[in-house]
């Protein structure tokens, strides 16, 4: 993980001082930075607007069908950003869905608004999930205590809820921020120039690799700044319940507002779920004849041939890493774990570029090989495997291994017989997360895939980029199906309604 980044630095500093200055302090960088930050701010604002009320009604009110609403609010996670962009792009324009269906020519959504909508719709569930569990953990007794001390609803909102939900909000916002920084598929299709997009253009188009390296470093430093700020903001926050006793939930009554709330939920579900799915199905009926199912099958196989080994590799790295960090927590094991998280947080294009430089510099035979792609996937998604394996390890107390030791087993056998069986489900879940994420992955695949290797995601992107919506549909459909499995898994593991 560290080595590729070192190579990124080496490449960047190949420029002499004057050239580097020119590259860093050019007007264009400022524009890119402004575009990136305004997209981040916009997405955060819009997702807050969507998730805060949604989290409150599903966690703390008597709204009927709360479980179903929760599921519907999480499902957009299954729609990759570039599929969302594909949907929005294909709506308007002369050959768009609306024109084909109703004969009305509707302006095509693109640029900032397009990027904003497509990124928001597939990332807002992260904020929703965090806020929802924040609301669930809110101790009603605190609210009652404040009420008995004379606070009104507005004061309770600002003095109790806002500070209490802060950690949940920040961690949700962090994930969204990282997605916006790393997003390539949606912004590139929407022709909205962020740093990620420019990095790709620079790499793919003009082959100015030194400038590409500097853009990657800019992305990495923004990411690091965000991570650092988050750690600072969360430092010393301790908001768990201090007292004991059962929590008594008293959910607010919605009464005549229920209909209004359902209308809002309907609007969100329609735009984030029904429209994308409907669009894909619509274009399927238009174009399934053109599309060669052979191509689809080939790209499923391609995607799998890289994703499956990546899942295995990620788990093989995650099991010892999780074991050491849970059983022998130390500065060193904490450092390794942070590297895993940093691999996840690093914008995929920057990571891809780092791997390219690394392979060209150290092992040219690795350049454009499946092996390199697999390693890059595994490192990028290591954190996804680490999560479930870590929590499974917490279910396997060290006493179990000690019990096995006292019954005559060597340290390795004690681990294998007493702990490993308990990690099975966690490891399977971790492998599944990595596998499904790698199947959907676009930018890393773009940069590292061997010539002629075309994954599902690359096909969706490629056809949409050429406005060949019908040809993109079958690939998008398969991706949607795979992603729903991912979300189903996430749902059963992480969310206990």
């Amino acid at each position: 993980m560290a080595l590729p980044v070192v190579y990124l630095l080496i490449r960047a500093f190949e420029a002499d001082a004057q050239q580097a200055m020119d590259l860093i302090f050019r007007r264009r960088n400022l524009d890119l930075l402004f575009n990136t930050l305004s997209l981040t701010a916009g997405v955060l604002f819009l997702s807050t607007l969507l998730s805060y009320p949604l989290a409150w009604v599903t966690a703390r009110t008597d709204l009927p069908f709360r479980k179903t609403v929760t599921t519907l609010a999480i499902l957009p996670l299954a729609i990759p950003g570039y599929v969302m962009a594909y949907t929005l792009l294909s709506l308007g324009g002369a050959n768009g869905t609306i024109f084909t269906l109703f004969g009305l020519e509707f302006p095509r959504i693109s640029g900032y608004i397009g990027a904003l909508l497509s990124v928001t719709f597939y990332t807002y569930p992260y904020l929703y999930l965090n806020l929802r569990s924040g609301f669930m953990g809110l101790d009603p007794a605190q609210e009652e205590a404040a009420r008995s001390l004379g606070y009104n609803t507005r004061q309770i909102f600002f003095n109790i809820w806002v500070p209490h939900l802060k950690p949940a909000y920040l961690s949700g916002a962090l994930i969204i921020g990282l997605y916006v920084l790393g997003d390539f598929g949606a912004v590139s299709l929407m022709r909205y120039e962020t740093i990620s997009y420019a990095l790709f253009m620079q790499y793919a188009g003009s082959y100015d690799r030194i400038y590409a390296a500097w853009l990657a470093l800019m992305l990495i430093s923004i990411t690091a700044t965000i991570l650092f700020a988050e750690a600072r903001l969360l430092k010393g926050l301790r908001l768990s319940r201090v007292g004991t006793g059962a929590m008594r939930y008293r959910n607010s009554t919605l009464g005549r507002w229920t209909g209004f709330v359902f209308a809002g939920i309907g609007l969100i579900v329609a735009s984030s779920l029904i429209v994308p799915m409907g669009t894909v199905l619509f274009w399927m009926t238009k174009g399934a004849t053109h599309a060669s199912w052979l191509d689809v099958g080939q790209s499923v196989l391609n995607s799998m041939s890289a994703s499956a080994p990546a899942a295995l590799l990620a788990c093989a790295m995650a099991v010892p890493l999780a074991y050491v960090s849970v059983r022998y927590p130390s500065a060193l094991s904490g450092f390794f774990e942070r590297i895993a998280w940093f691999g996840f947080a690093t914008p995929p294009l920057a990571l891809g570029l780092a791997f390219i430089f690394f392979s060209l510099g150290v092992a040219p035979w690795l350049y454009q090989s499946i092996t390199l792609l697999v390693v890059a996937y595994a490192i990028h998604y290591l954190a996804e495997a680490l999560g479930p394996i870590r929590s499974a390890l917490y279910q396997a107390p060290p006493r179990l291994e000690e019990a096995a030791r006292s019954l005559g087993f060597s340290p390795f056998h004690a681990f294998r017989k007493a702990t490993l069986p308990l990690l099975r489900n966690g490891t399977i879940a971790g492998a599944a997360f990595v596998f499904l994420s790698a199947m959907k992955e676009l930018p890393i695949t773009f940069m590292l895939a061997p010539v002629g290797f075309e994954s599902l995601a690359m096909n969706v992107w490629g056809y949409t980029n050429e406005a060949m919506f019908a040809d993109a549909a079958p690939f998008a459909l398969i991706l949607l199906l795979l992603s729903s499995v991912f979300v189903g898994l996430l749902f059963t593991r992480e969310i206990k309604p």
């Binding site: 006493r399 000690e402 019990a403 096995a404 006292s406 005559g408 017989k417």
Partner: protein, 346 residues
Amino acid sequence: MSVLLRVNALTKRFTPDSPPVVEDVSFDVGENEIFAILGPSGCGKTTTLRMIAGFERADKGSVELNNLVVECAHAHVSPDKRGVGFVFQEYALFPHLSVADNIAFGLPSLSKTDRKIRVEAMIELAGLSGFEARKPHELSGGQQQRVALARALAPMPKIILLDEPFSNLDAVLRQSTRHEIRSMLKKAGLSAILVTHDQEEALSFADRIAVMNKGKVEQIGTPEDVYETPRTEFVALFLGRTNLIKAKARGMEAWTELGALMIDRPMDGDVTLSIRPEHLTLERVNESNCNGCCGTILNREFKGHDITYKIQLQKSECLVHTDNRVNFVAGDRVVVKPVEPAVVLN
């Protein structure tokens, strides 16, 4: 009785600069003996037990099993090679294995038939017949406890170490389980070390007790010994209610606020005495028995078969535990009479 386990001057620090959690702890455990280490939480008793099992290294001192050194500063036999059974406070049953498989876990070297016979015998011994196929989470606390013990007993260790094994059981179950396990151990002819913070548990379960405080052993003896003749203030207070009295001793007698008392060993000068409330009784004041050493009843606690009185003496207070035929009310003037000699503390 021959010595099975010898713990010699064991010392352990978790970090080089911190005070020792276990300091200079020594004791022997004989064959077929049940030994208890009793002390408040944080006194180092569990650490001592874990060093005997081999889960922690000792900084100084040694552990000998059957006259072989298994632990000292430069040698460490790993836990799997010691043949010591261990029962954990939270049982540590393998959640993915059935009761029978948990018990068979430590028997990989036995042939299939031998293993089956052994497991059956253990299930019988632990009174778990009919539960062989259950998973640990389908058992009650007491049953889980017995599986943990059967699993530790199955490989037939010479000695078994029990780390607060009863603390997760409710009060009623605790007493009966304690009784069952004591008879299981005695039937199997095993030695055991029990670690506990519950004085009643140690007194009723063990043949001998070591009382630990702040990493050190304060006293070792039979339950009767440590209860009736505590050697330190800590032991006297930890094993039940007591009266600590400042006194001037000469020979076998000491002078106190209660008047002259017999003491358990000859002493001269200022001493602290311990006398248990049940070793005192009360008499109504009359001209012949007072000698200026009488007191007033402050309050009484009627507990059915006995009564505890709190008496205000000239400077201090004392507790007296009498049977329910000695009847006084608050405000009565009384004389406190010892029925046993007081114990001189070090």
